[in-house]
């Protein structure tokens, strides 16, 4: 096992899980996929392991999203019933509501802005984000500025809508 990969695993695993979670929105699945990324890295031994891991993670999450889109159609009704049957505790429900709003706000971003923002939040620097997204490094600051502004606006907007409805 290469030492650098062990070090990357130590420093990056949680970030990779977080990155994946914000794509698949399932903590267990995010863990599974993150471990899958490292398992593949152990086999392929990529040069730039960190960047490689996030590329693989993004691809896995994309595949996962395609599958989920298919399954979601079947699960919509079931989910509605389950939610109605098992009301969560207040704190958990509140956290879940916040998470859902962030998720909805992220969905309002363009894929490129969202990717840049999630990569930044996962600990990648501008060079790595540029490499990953194909953007020029000089454009990353602008992209992130736009992504952050839209995320906050979308979140506050949904809160505003919520307050107006409430």
């Amino acid at each position: 096992m290469p030492d650098d990969l062990a070090e990357i695993y130590r420093t990056t695993y949680r970030a990779l899980v977080r990155f994946l979670y914000r794509k698949v929105w399932d903590p267990d699945r995010a863990e599974d996929l993150a471990q899958e990324c490292f398992a593949r890295a152990l086999v392929h031994k990529p040069d730039n392991a960190r960047g490689w891991l996030f590329v693989v993670a993004a691809n896995l999450a994309r595949d996962e999203a395609r599958k989920a889109a298919t399954e979601r159609r079947h699960l919509t009704l079931l989910k509605g019933e389950a939610d109605a049957q098992a009301p969560a505790a207040d704190e958990v429900a509140e956290a879940a509501a916040d998470r859902d709003k962030v998720r909805a706000a992220l969905d309002r971003l363009t894929p490129r802005d969202r990717e840049a923002l999630l990569l930044w939040d996962a600990g990648m620097n501008y060079d790595e984000i540029a490499s990953q997204t194909g953007l020029a490094k000089g454009a990353i600051g602008t992209t992130l500025a736009r992504a952050r502004r839209r995320l906050v606006a979308a979140y506050e907007g949904s809160e505003g809508e919520h307050a107006a409805r409430g």
Partner: protein, 326 residues
Amino acid sequence: MPHVDEGLLHAYLDGELTPVERARVDEHLAGCLACRTRLDEERQLIERASTLLGLATPSDRPSPPLSALARPRPRRFWHVRMPLAWAATVILAIGLGWKLADTNWGTPPIKTMEGPVASRQDEPAQPQPRSVPPPAADRGTFGRRATRPAPTLTQKSRRLDTTTADQIASNATGAAEERSGAGVAAPAPAAAPQRTLAPRMQAAELDEVRAALDSATARTILGREPLVIPGLPVRSITRSGRAPNEIVVIQSLDSTHVIALFEARHSMTQASAQRDRVSASDTRASAAAKAVSDTPPGRLIGDVMVEIQARVTADSLQKLLAKIKP
């Protein structure tokens, strides 16, 4: 330097500018209140966005050691396929064996008293359909060697002398053929479904097959027509083998069940002694009889004692026995 744009401000706040770029921005900010104000706004925006993303973070869990994620080398496909192929072969063989064991080769074997316990319960005996005529060669007799069920309730040791039986049979056959179709007690003996014995039976028990009795001989033994259950085809009438002057009438209850009627003049019947002999000399017959009933139901009709055995419930046996008309 013109005002610092928001992309540059974010890169400045993210610490992603080169030292040269950073120095230039610092220089501008020092002399530009508007840009310093915007810098504060962007800093708050970044913090807010980061906080929001923090709301969408999975709870921390202990991560497994990296070594636990290492996979064994992928196996060559034949390493996986060979055990699967073997498993498939074994399952196929078992399935084929099962199927073959279940298959009736040609006609179903005739079930005798030794056959498996029947599921048939308490159903009234139905007359067999008579649309199919039996082969001409079999007309006029109650049965022939190859078409009779093996009288497995009897035993070799108690059998009639085969030569004598054959003589009786051969003498009787001519007479029976002359009277082909003549009324005998059976409602339609000629219409009894003719079956071939299963190969297993032919090989193992052919020597146990007793010569058929024609109705005249049967009458001589019993002093009257053999008693039968009306409406059921008679498959054979033979000597019982367990007493010199006892005959056994085999009738078909349905396609899988036969009924054995042991008939003897009452004066000659020593039922308990016979049963003792049966149980002592033939465990198979004893077991078969026991499975039906410890004491097979009997009925005295005129001076003929009729004992019935079949793989049905005792209640059904009594009902069948009651159907016999004097």
